[in-house]
Symmetry: C2
Subunit: 173 residues, 2 copies
DNA sequence: ACAATGATTGACTAATCAGTCTACAAATAT
DNA sequence: ATATTTGTAGACTGATTAGTCAATCATTGT
């Protein structure tokens, strides 16, 4: 509903109704509407992170692990479009600025470590990991936007993902 | 104010006050608050577009023209952070979905044409221009996010822009 | 069996908001 | 000079909203 109508155009009364509970119940679990929004963001973000690292055996080469994470992320986004869109909407909203810097770095830590390993192993080009991370995230956001902009067959979609991965991989290695 | 507080947390009364006019005056020029928001988006977007193509002499090589557009865009974004942030906020909000598809393609047309020329000239890799366009936009959004995340000296900033341009250029050519 | 705590309800409220309306002022046209 | 249109003002309204509250209901521990 936040994605469809926006944060403030989605009243708590409708959220409660959609959830099948009374108005008061909602405020029993979340002191304020903002708290609910933050909780939803954290919840959604952790779902994505969990899915990203699924099937990531540490035996594979760094490229294969990275490709697995890349593919997983896009797959999750395509199968959970509202959730992914919500993350983006939240990230570019004033709400995002209210999250503590600490929380954000904590969230990004595992990803940054992974990239740092890649640099240390002389696989990934030496550059600030923050920059690298941002570039990768933006790239993935772009691919998702493209994949959502029109209807592709599953095969065509896989082809796009493979090719765009190669572009990204060549760029950072 | 939209960037700072969000769309609905910015009442028309405060907009009018900030603009130094009475409440009624605002609604004399914009029938609804939404109309004002759309107008602000169109206004801001056209400012950016104008700046992007500044100093773009058609005599230069395609790479130099592209680099000029690239640099201009990032410069504008860094010098007009709230405006750039507003465009991003708007683009990932439910408002964006209310803009006609026609309007969007019309807006992107010159950029797509430019990229198409690059492909025809065998400078840019052959791929769907939509995809190319999205990748470039995402890349630029990422760089801006990175540049805004910490304070860089002007020299350092220029260095980052140059290096990241090279990454992008190598990726698409 | 009986406390005690936690969960659920929905009517209620105080505040806020987008948009209206009437009156007046300024500018422009005749 | 007068008439007509356009711009400005700000008090006002009806609707909506986040959040409260007092009263039940359910669950758990003893």
């Amino acid at each position: 509903m936040f994605v469809e109508f926006g944060f403030h155009a989605t009243p708590t009364s409708k959220i409660a109704k959609e959830a099948g509970v009374a108005n008061g119940t909602l405020f029993h679990y979340y002191k304020t509407k903002d708290e609910l929004i933050f909780a939803l963001y954290a919840h959604t973000k952790s779902h994505l992170t969990e899915y990203m690292y699924a099937n990531a055996s540490k035996d594979e080469s760094l490229e294969l692990v990275f490709k697995s994470i890349y593919t997983n992320t896009i797959e999750w986004a395509q199968e959970n479009k509202p959730e992914f869109y919500f993350i983006q909407q939240f990230s570019t909203s004033p709400f995002y600025g209210l999250i503590s810097h600490e929380e954000i770095t904590k969230q990004a830590k595992p990803h940054l470590d992974f990239l740092q390993d890649g640099i240390k192993a002389a696989v990934i080009k030496p550059m600030p990991v923050d920059l690298l991370y941002t570039l990768i995230n933006s790239h993935i956001a772009g691919i998702n936007q493209y994949l959502s902009s029109q209807e592709f067959s599953t095969d065509k979609q896989k082809k796009i993902i493979n090719e765009s991965f190669q572009l990204l991989w060549d760029m950072i290695t």
